[in-house]
Symmetry: C2
Subunit: 64 residues, 2 copies
DNA sequence: TCATTATGTAATTTATATATTACATAACAT
DNA sequence: ATGTTATGTAATATATAAATTACATAATGA
């Protein structure tokens, strides 16, 4: 479940906590998603993408 | 949670049951996702997209 | 008319995403 | 050194995705 959340977040100089608050989840949830260990819901993926000014494909589609 | 799963499935002349089997879920789950009432997991969205030869954005991103 | 296929839906159960609380550490500034 | 910020992680609780089972109906063809 690799993804580009962490790099996109850091590119915007946001902390996990700031992203979490904007998205409406806890810091821990963001941490686990970045780590690639979670299988987040579509709604959460979309919320994250919008906050980071990315699309689903940018963040989650066939990330190397 | 509107999406383009149904139209993409029908374009490939697949039934809900055929898609469900390829994706590894039940027919009911596909039905509910198409109806837009579920908040599927990212993994499931990706499996569906691959079977339907689409990307996440094609199926789920800002569907009108 | 009857059987089959595709789909809708509802009730209950099971698996797991996410919250909550808590404690740890590294980095950095003061 | 000390305090603060950002992050990692673990244990338990809660919400909900998804499975399972079952019954319903419309469409179609034999």
């Amino acid at each position: 479940m690799k993804n580009n959340v962490r790099i996109s977040r850091i590119n915007l100089s946001m902390t996990q906590e700031q992203l979490a608050k904007k998205v409406g989840v806890t810091r821990q949830t963001i941490g686990l998603i970045e780590k690639g260990e979670y299988n987040p819901s579509l709604q959460l993926c979309m919320s994250i993408a919008k906050v980071l000014n990315k699309t689903l494909d940018d963040l989650f589609w066939e990330v190397k």
